[in-house]
Symmetry: C2
Subunit: 147 residues, 2 copies
């Protein structure tokens, strides 16, 4: 039996990270960086725990991936993230020159797409993978927060 290394498969891995964030009472966003069907970096939002606005899931996953391969450039890699990246994280993906950014839920308020073409010209974009599950986690979190 072989594993089907699809975008859905890797987004489920990012969702596991998002669930970890939820367990830590962080905004539930998770990310993984994948190269040649192998996860080379993982991260989940830790802005509260670390008291650091830069500790977004994508940033931590990109840094972990660069550490893993010993190269700050992640050409050929795909960044999977449960929610559309913000401007900061889009900018980080630009510098890393990832081949693809794949996100789950769209983010109309602080998602990067509002601001135009912030990704590297070499980076392809795909949205909406497991969007319902990614949105549901966010909705649960904010519903809990309002209580």
């Amino acid at each position: 039996m072989t594993t089907d290394f699809s975008d859905t498969y890797f987004m489920r891995q990012a969702l596991l990270e998002a669930q970890q964030a939820l367990a830590e009472e962080e905004i539930p966003i998770g990310a993984v960086v994948v190269l040649d069907n192998k996860i080379i970096g993982r991260g989940h939002n830790q802005t509260e725990r670390l008291r650091d606005v830069t500790a977004h899931a994508e940033m931590l996953a990109l840094t972990a991936a660069a550490n893993h391969v010993g190269n700050k450039y992640l050409a050929g890699a795909t960044l999977y993230v449960t929610v559309e990246p913000c401007v900061m994280c889009a900018g980080a993906s630009y510098w890393a020159q990832v081949a693809r950014v794949v996100f789950g839920a769209e983010e109309l308020k602080v998602g990067f797409r509002r601001f135009g073409h912030l990704l590297h010209p070499r980076t392809k974009l795909l949205g909406g993978v497991l969007a319902d599950e990614c949105v549901a986690l966010m909705r649960d979190f904010f519903a809990l927060k309002r209580k």
Copy 2:
């Protein structure tokens, strides 16, 4: 005798950080974060040493400042940086909600201003402080690299 805590004064501090980057053969960009005339975070570009695209001067200075004050929000603080921030760093300053971003040299290719209003609505922007000195450091670095 009192110190004149001007934008020029703090940009000189950012320039000291940039010189440190140069000494480490990094692209010479430096940053400091200032609150109530006190430097609460410093950073210089370390993308080569750390092999990490997120290790820009501003990111390191913002993280250091947040650690120092124990708060991820840096309301009232000013981010000084020797070169116009990129999209990633502009995005980080958005999340930190700094009161001001003050830069030295403009960066026409990868500076954030090309992409429109990426700063937080509360953040004021000032460019051109000690621009000649900030540019000179960059020019020296790239001239050396070409040799």
